[in-house]
Symmetry: C2
């Protein structure tokens, strides 16, 4: 039995998604709850890794039960395990999927959102939930950021937007959409792509911030991309503003749909 | 020298606004920061009290310095004290006011917002920030709540919406506006009035929730109000959903305006 599950977590007190010895991780915490619940060893496979402090509103993962385990209908799983979940982690949707389904390789796209709060004084409601930036933005910051963001859309070599020392997989990725929205002093950078290099969204955000403060011209992003040189892009934005917002699958991969 | 200041706080780890011995309160924490900063005894007077766990986005208070203390320009105060503030409390605006100004008696109105999240599974992002309600609402819950809310607008005896055993001040209050907005599964009850009885907004919210679930008819709120009987209104909603959103003053009370 294999479930595709959607979880939501506040990343502040997790050392990222992936299980590590002696550290509190999302995969570790969820696996412990599920193994207790099913009285069986359970395999949890994530759609991606997230760093310490990074949040998720819709992280997808599969839960595989061994042959002997007693399954429950997927639509009952969220409420059944809810009482045993830690307060910063919730599993809110489960559907049955075919055995061969893989949450990472079968994902068509992912959307990350990065939240930036422009404020001279820290806002306690956004502590650990946004990058709070105290230096001023230029008056047309939003338009400039969106102009810069357009250059990132499409299929490109994103070497300039990848943490140095990353493993040498292909740096080619397709960004389907990149745009910035603003509500009061809150800027949300949304990036949807077929895959992401290490720290890619955080470096994109740091670069768009340099555009927002006037340090970079929107068109400079085009040259930075072409340079494939990490040192030309902006700083890596801190983890607390980042949230995995959505993972896109082909619905044909699901055995059946259940309620949200 | 008297400043009118606006503060914002996450109420979760405060035992309310008002100073109490041996307890962590907003007034206590702020007074300690200000007395350290001004090297003088400072009088902090709030626009209201808030209970443990209740939040504020725009709580108004005055800070009075004794005659000997060295004042700083009000517009410099927020950034000057920011490094010394605890992470769940921020002072983000200050203006100079006349000596006779009182943040409670001079307030023309206050707006409270109460946030309710309708969700079968707890959402960790709203932990301690909303009342998370797992039982289902009727399909036209929003329209029903707004119909019920209308009956609360105007000048009424709000005895039915006051915690039992409250001190026997007049139970007459004027509600200028009461309405509910909905975004996805998040309902926000907004109540603006010239003053509030103890637990009034939380009892109003509990009553509107009874309307949302179909247990009460919208028009029943009219009868409950007329009954002046606390036992006929709904349950007191928990503190974590409540936030003081705005305090209204007559701008003529200010000596001069400064930047937000």
């Amino acid at each position: 039995m294999k479930y595709l599950c959607y979880i939501r977590y506040v990343g502040t007190h997790f050392c990222g998604f992936q299980a590590q010895k002696e550290k509190r991780t999302v995969q570790g915490a969820l696996t412990a709850v599920l193994e207790d619940f099913f009285k069986a060893s359970v395999m949890v496979t994530g759609c991606s890794r997230t760093d310490s402090g990074v949040h998720a509103d819709a992280f997808a993962l599969t839960v595989s039960l061994p042959d002997g385990a007693l399954p429950i209908p997927p639509e009952k799983l969220p409420l059944a395990i809810a009482p045993f979940m830690p307060p910063d982690l919730a599993l809110y949707r489960a559907v049955a999927v075919k055995d061969g389904f893989h949450p990472r390789y079968d994902a068509r796209a992912k959307e990350y959102r990065y939240t930036v709060l422009s404020t001279p004084v820290l806002n306690p409601f956004y502590k650990d939930r946004a990058w709070q930036v105290y230096y001023p933005f230029v008056p047309d910051a939003l338009a400039r950021m969106n102009e810069a963001a357009k250059h990132l859309c499409g299929t490109h070599d994103f070497s300039a937007f990848r943490a140095e020392g990353s493993p040498t997989r292909s740096p080619i990725r397709t960004v389907f959409d990149c745009h910035v929205e603003k509500t009061d002093d809150l800027y949300t950078v949304s990036v949807t792509g077929d895959g992401f290099l290490y720290n890619m969204v955080r470096i994109i955000t740091g670069t768009l911030l340099a555009v927002a403060t006037g340090r970079l011209d929107p068109d400079a992003v085009k040259d930075i991309l072409a340079s494939r040189n990490r040192t030309r892009a902006g700083a890596t934005a801190p983890p607390e503003g980042l949230c995995l917002a959505r993972v896109f699958y082909d619905e044909a991969d699901f055995q059946k749909e259940t309620r949200d």
